[in-house]
Amino acid sequence: MASGVKPRVKVPKKASAGDVITIKTLISHKMESGQRKDGDGNVIPRSIINRFVADFNGENVIDVTLEPAISTNPYFQFDATVPETGEFHFTWYDDDGDVYETKKKITVS
């Protein structure tokens, strides 16, 4: 497992039905591109987050493929319309097979 990986998410706690809300996500990850060499000239193997998914109550909101050129600590900000009270489910997929997950509840009145 890549070290120091920590997902963090900012979702408003409350919203009105049909509101467009802004969601911010950030995961600390070194995003090693696989293009760099170490001091001895050996290639440092690629190690990145390659996919990010956000679901709301089981319905997909966003599904992103990440490429090696994306820099360290990838940050995503996007808007979503919330029709009802529910839970956002965020998932990041690491090259080494690890999956990092976070959930956030939102109350819609």
Partner: protein, 276 residues
């Protein structure tokens, strides 16, 4: 006509940026910070202090206003983990003695300070605890672990005004720092004051010179995507003027740190700030 109009507009833009420090307000997480204030009486050549935040572009400034957007907070989070992590032969973590990190509120504003005849920076305090109480190895001055922990401790003082002691037993160190500040060094034969006192606000290559304030350190820099210590920044400046930098944690940089901290008296601590 169209071309003339465009050149007129661009001339206006240039005129506007002659004084790069803007009048925006530093409002972090809904709290208004003192980012510009009257200079302390010991500064003869400067009337108004400006935080380095005022010299940055709008995008960079915005990053510091929201703790979620502030990339420095990623490292502060690492600092929280390190603070609770047991290390060394005594089986202790920082938390074993300092139960609540919030007890450090106000510490950043007073450092560096004189203890037992020695000038000490926050890095010294951290390493003293590590070697003497925890039985752990000292961290390097600007290592990732060190800046994460100094960032966390500095954050507890965020918003409080800088207020280092410069009289009494601190006076000789302060004088030494002032001497360094005004001494020309390196192949380019420049002193700190040439840029940060005489020319703040004007362009140096593609960037605006700031007053060289250290109220936001350790600072997250976009150029290297990590927290940077004060002494590391001094070192960068000295390399840029083609001088041989002093040693990080050495007596020269500590004296300079004290003097420059005193030049920011009254500015709010911004740790961790975002700069380019």
């Amino acid at each position: 006509m169209g071309i003339k109009l465009i050149s007129f507009v661009s001339a206006l833009v240039f005129a506007g940026s002659a004084y790069a420090q803007d009048s925006n307000q530093l409002n972090v997480e809904g709290e208004l910070f003192v980012s510009t204030t009257a200079a302390p009486s010991h500064m003869e050549n400067v009337d108004t202090l400006y935080s380095g935040w005022h010299f940055r572009s709008g995008e960079t400034q915005a990053l510091q206003l929201d703790d979620f957007d502030n990339p420095g907070m990623v490292f502060v989070d690492q600092g929280i983990d390190l603070f609770a992590k047991v290390d060394g032969s005594e089986g202790k973590s920082c938390q074993s003695c300092h139960e609540d990190v919030e007890d450090f509120a106000g510490l950043r504003t007073q450092l560096p300070r004189v203890e037992d005849g020695q000038l000490v920076s926050m890095e010294n305090l951290v390493n003293d605890c590590r070697t003497e109480r925890m039985g752990a190895e000292a961290w390097k001055w600007s290592s990732t672990n060190m800046t994460a922990v100094t960032g966390l401790i500095g954050l507890q003082s965020r918003g409080m005004p800088m207020n280092v002691k410069i009289d009494g037993d601190a006076a000789p160190f302060w004088e030494a720092g002032k001497e360094l500040y005004y001494t020309r060094v390196g192949q380019l034969d420049m002193s700190c004051s040439n840029c940060h006192e005489d020319n703040y606000g004007v362009m140096i290559r593609a960037d605006h010179l700031s007053q060289g304030q250290i109220n936001g350190f350790p600072a997250y820099r976009l150029k290297n995507a990590k927290l940077n210590s004060i002494h590391n920044r001094f070192k960068g400046c000295m390399s840029n003027i083609r001088a041989t930098p002093f040693k990080e944690g050495g007596k020269e940089f500590k004296a300079l740190e004290l003097y420059i901290a005193s030049r920011g008296e009254g500015l709010a601590v911004e740790t961790p700030s975002v700069r380019n």
